[in-house]
């Protein structure tokens, strides 16, 4: 009898090209390589210098997302560094035979949105990209992780990566009937998980999210959770594929068809953690106890339920955490003990690879419908891809946003990391559906509160951090 294995171990095992001897890492095959303009130029230049081709352009796909503007997209990019990176990507893709979805193409969008949308992300695959939020694709039962520029070059040249083994951690999210309370989303679940295990809690681990709450989530919601695995320090996050997964993939451009679909389904059914397999660590989350969650500090682990107050650093026992909290509260311009619901924002951002999918836009629109933004609040709604944009426009969501006073933009990473013109001014405060509240992430001196799309929209209406139940 073969040893009982976890999902992550099964996916690893089926990709070993060559088992490492002694201290040598295993050589793993990569099924899908996603490329964008910021982390790829030196990788392509390295190939050029060494006279090497891209081994499998047919397993490689490129798009422009990190630094592209989201308005006036028909004009040349104003920022010279961004323009150079985009032009370089176009030249490299043409030279090395890699398919590219450039700005204004109907398939352009954030890499982690377009992979699943095209049906390229499938269960049991290995997926890499020069971007840490590649963990998103783990929602399909794929093993997906971010890599550095040298590794990008390595994958381009060999379609493999030498990798050291990882540990496994089960994150069990259960509730009495498998549902979450009204107004609680998968964003709140993952923020609560990170607050629980800390930003380093997942280091060296691949996380597997399990339990009846996870099983009842849509694919969009599952992607939000896996996306933020990296914020807990994890190598990757995964969810076992099931009927929800199959239904999402079925019929997409690159999904298997006919007999191939049946063969794929039979294979995917084996991608579950075996009975009796052991994880190196386990964490249990009570789904019934979860409420809308927001961050108050400058790392994604510094979060609390919206109904709580800004913490008092003096009450924190661990010295490192206390000092970090003091510094964060100072940077964020908050006061210990003030109710989080009283925190006033200038800007609301809905978008990113965390919450820029159609379901996220629908959630935000459902709150904004018939309402208007609070005075002095600006709101940017940035679809994660052109397809999401077109679908939202077909459903009339863009009209809901603009009627409420929000700006409706074109697709890209946008204010999530402020590499394009969408940035916070020094001292400005945002409620953002993105993934990182680091100092200066959304613009020099900007202050970020990470929230769900529902909380983002309710906050835009009230002007202070709020959930839909706070609205009249």
């Amino acid at each position: 009898m073969t040893k009982a294995r976890t999902l992550a171990e099964k996916v690893w095992d089926r990709h070993v090209v060559r088992k490492g001897e002694g201290q040598e890492p295993d050589l793993l095959y990569i099924d899908l390589h996603l490329v964008h303009e910021v982390t790829s130029p030196q990788a392509f230049d390295g190939l050029r210098l060494a006279g090497r081709p891209v081994r499998r352009p047919d397993l490689t796909i490129a798009t422009e997302d990190h630094n592209v503007p989201t308005k006036d997209v028909e004009l040349p990019i104003a920022d010279p560094v961004s323009r150079t990176q985009v032009e370089t990507l176009r030249r490299n893709c043409a030279e090395f035979g890699v398919d590219l979805y450039p700005m204004n193409h109907a398939e352009q969008g954030i890499v982690h949105i377009i992979g699943p949308q095209l049906g390229l992300t499938q269960p049991g695959m290995t997926v890499v990209c020069g971007d840490s939020h590649t963990s998103t694709h783990g929602a399909f039962g794929a093993m997906a992780f971010g890599i550095g520029t040298s590794e990008v070059e390595h994958v381009l040249a060999t379609q493999t990566l030498p990798l050291k083994p990882f540990k496994t951690m089960a994150i069990n999210v259960n509730s009495a009937d498998g549902t979450l309370r009204p107004g609680v989303t998968s964003k709140d679940v993952v923020l609560a998980i990170i607050a629980r295990i800390g930003t380093g809690g997942g280091q060296g681990y691949v996380l597997e999210y399990r339990g009846n709450v996870i099983e009842n989530l849509s694919m969009e919601a599952r992607m939000t959770i896996c996306n933020m695995s990296i914020e807990a320090g994890a190598r990757a996050g995964m969810i076992a594929p099931d009927q929800v997964t199959y239904d999402f993939i079925d019929g997409r451009d690159h999904a298997p068809k006919g007999e191939a679909w049946d063969a794929a389904l039979a294979d995917w059914a084996t991608l579950r953690t075996d009975e009796g397999a052991t994880f190196d660590a386990e964490v249990d989350i009570d789904g019934d106890a979860l409420t809308p969650f927001v961050t108050w500090g400058t790392n994604p682990g510094q979060g609390l339920p919206l109904g709580e107050n800004v913490p008092d650093p003096a009450a924190i026992v661990d010295e490192n955490e206390r000092v970090a909290a003091e510094r964060a509260i100072d940077y964020m311009g908050l006061e210990a003990g003030m109710p989080l619901r009283d925190v006033r924002v200038d800007t609301v951002f809905v978008g990113s690879c965390t919450n820029g999918r159609i379901e996220d836009l629908r959630a935000a629109a459902s709150v904004l419908d018939g309402r208007t933004l609070a005075k002095g609040v600006r709101m940017l709604v940035v679809p994660g891809s052109m397809r999401v944009r077109f679908q939202a426009e077909d459903e009339g969501l863009d009209k809901v946003f603009t009627a409420a006073g929000a700006e409706w933009r074109s697709a890209g990473c946008s204010m999530c990391l402020g590499m394009n013109p969408d940035q916070l001014e020094p001292g400005e405060r945002s409620a953002s559906t993105s993934n990182r509240n680091f100092e200066g992430r959304q613009g020099k001196g900007g202050r970020t509160h990470l929230v769900s799309p529902l909380v983002a929209a309710a906050t835009a209406v009230r002007g202070t951090l709020s959930s839909p139940e706070d609205l009249d």
Partner: protein, 198 residues
């Protein structure tokens, strides 16, 4: 990358310890889209001073850098190795190296030769008394020689082998290209390709 066996070139005495990678190349030079051309960023802050050693002859044409202990500490940027090599350095001699820098050197083809600080001091004196003295670094024998001075340096067997063979990470993997091809033949036919669907 090019195989390395022995190298002879002008030695440059850099009498500084704890040369971190931000000193080797400041962050502002990291925005490039190329893999080469980082030589202008090498020691950019120090090179503002006319009397910095690389601004003086014949040291500006040096290819063997002789530095104080703890060379290459700090940020993991691979650009530090690229900048040194783009400038023309093939070897750095020091009593201690930052771990990540040492690893990045092996990947980039730069020899990080670790020796006793005592030997560094002797070499510094020789290079300062007779500017332009050539230093020969023999990777096969793991020795440094300049005029009458000869001493041994340390480099681990694996890194030495890689450098002698001229194998970067990709080169190492491609030694197993047969395994990759065999694996590819076994992949299920239903796995997706990125070529736009008809």
């Amino acid at each position: 990358m090019d195989a390395f066996s022995t190298h002879t070139g002008i030695g440059v005495p850099l009498r500084r310890s704890n040369v971190d990678t931000d000193q080797i190349i400041p962050a502002v030079y990291l925005k490039r889209v190329t893999r080469t051309g980082f030589d202008d960023g090498l020691f950019a802050a120090w090179r503002q001073h006319p009397d910095f050693i690389l601004n003086t002859e014949p040291f500006s044409k040096g290819s063997v850098l002789v530095a104080g202990p703890d060379f290459g500490t700090g940020s993991s940027r691979e650009h530090a190795v690229w900048a040194l090599m783009d400038y023309g350095f093939r070897v750095v001699i020091s009593a201690r190296f930052g771990d990540i820098f040492r690893g990045n050197s092996a990947k980039g083809g730069l020899v990080a030769a670790q020796c006793e600080q005592h030997d560094v001091e002797l070499l510094w004196k020789l290079l300062e008394n007779e500017p332009g003295t050539e230093v020969t670094v023999d990777l096969q024998e793991r020795t440094v020689q300049a005029k009458d001075l000869t001493f041994a340096f340390q480099i681990d067997d694996y890194t030495r082998w890689r450098l002698l063979e001229g194998l970067d990470d990709i080169g190492l993997t491609l030694r197993h290209e047969g395994d990759i091809t065999t694996f590819e033949a076994s992949r299920p036919a239903w796995l997706p390709v990125t070529t736009p669907a008809g």
